[in-house]
Amino acid sequence: MTRLENAHTMIAEAIAYLDALKRRSISFRLLQNELRVRDLPTAKGWLPLLEKYKAKVSSPTIYEEWTAGLQGIYWNHILYGPKAVRVFKVEKDVCEKVKKLLPGLVSKKSEFAKNYPLPISETELQKATFNPTPTGSDDAGRLVLCAKRVFKAREPIELNDFDDEIKDAFGNYDELIGVRCGVTQAFDRIDVLPEKGEIHVYIDLSPMISGEEITRAFPFHIDQFNRWMAGPIGHPVLVDGGVNFYPAIAKLYNDADGRIIRLGHATGTKSIKEERMRSKLLDLREELFHKEGIKAIKDTDAYSISKVWDTASGFPKAVIPGHFSMAGAEKALVRYAIIDGCAGITDFDMILSKLNN
């Protein structure tokens, strides 16, 4: 390969990782931070960013550095990007057996395998299966399952783009919003952790999907995994619904660290409050209206919470998305939590430990 062909290949590789990150709707703020930390070029938006990486540079080693850096950011996002998690307690010896079975589950011939860990093209994705397919595994006990997933995007519609007849028909409306169904390649995951006696099921939230869609995605993984394990283990391993995150809501509120940025709680004075701060830098517990309200009525039943912490990469976040029907209920149950805003394993494991202490 000539130097020119080599350079073109390396540019294509760097752009492939950027395109894949864009398709995953990575937080642009998080991406900018990760690029800066790695001394890679950054920009205000996707258009100028992609232009920078297509530009000519003085030496091929620069392309190699770019590609290596972008590959690292991409793989971190696959593993530690926004996820919904359910945690199952499983006997340690069973976990050990399950962990050894994971490589054998990977399908090297699936439609997702040929490009893995990059996504398949959007054209190929349209024809791909919705069924999560084991596509990769590693020695850490992680099984990555790829699938086609539908997401809904709400976008404003510009009336000026249409002819006069349409404009007249919608002339009374201040704003027009279109709902578009898109498809994305999800990288869900099952982590088998014998040292903890736990199996974690992760639903990829890049891009974000609704609570309803998350709730629908989990049972498929659980049922499928239990079917795979039924033969070699002899019984289902993901049972009893998993850890209940509802008690963690009060703990997160009461633990002094971090900042509460959103809280759903019900009062004895017959109201349901959904409170949030305008900025991740502010703590609801310090906000005057919230403090005085709690002081006045002594106690409320929290049912949902979002909390952030400061780290070098930004503001990793723990979310427990309960419904107000759970507030103070005898059998209050929230089966999944959300981990968001993490750039790498340190942030991710920290948030997991806050949720699953």
Partner: protein
């Protein structure tokens, strides 16, 4: 600047427009009488109510004066609000976007058409505004 000095300037500058003069003084009173904690995010609506103007839309004239050089009580702050997202945007970034006609969504990185409709202004007390609160009034 003390409160009485601020009021004197308002009287001098807005003599020809007594309605706006009264509105500015009412806003000065509002800023002096509330605790700083509740003045962290002052909306146009709050200032319009404080102005006691019969036509609240005229409050914009009073607010323009009170963000000016003569009695610099207030400073504008911008938030980009898109759906559930609220993101503080520096004035320098707003000015650059208005100059270039381009603004990139802070979370998605996409170009935002009609970004002006998503840039929402509110106000905070300037340093002068904070010191005016601490000064004695006439």
């Amino acid at each position: 600047m003390r409160r009485d000095q601020a009021e004197a300037r308002v009287a001098e500058d807005l003599r020809a427009n007594p309605q706006i003069e009264r509105a500015c003084k009412a806003i000065l009173e509002f800023a002096a009488s509330r605790s700083e904690e509740v003045l962290q995010h002052i909306t146009f609506g709050a200032l319009a109510r404080a102005s006691q103007l019969a036509d609240p839309s005229l409050a914009v004239v009073a607010i323009q004066y009170l963000t000016g050089d003569r009695v610099h009580l207030l400073e504008p702050r911008f938030e980009f609000i898109d759906g559930d997202l609220i993101e503080a945007i520096e004035i320098s970034e707003v000015n650059e976007a208005r100059r270039n006609g381009t603004f990139y969504h802070p979370e998605t990185g996409d170009l935002v058409t009609d970004f002006e409709s998503k840039l929402i202004v509110h106000f905070v007390l300037s340093d002068m505004g904070k010191s005016l609160r601490n000064s004695s009034s006439v």
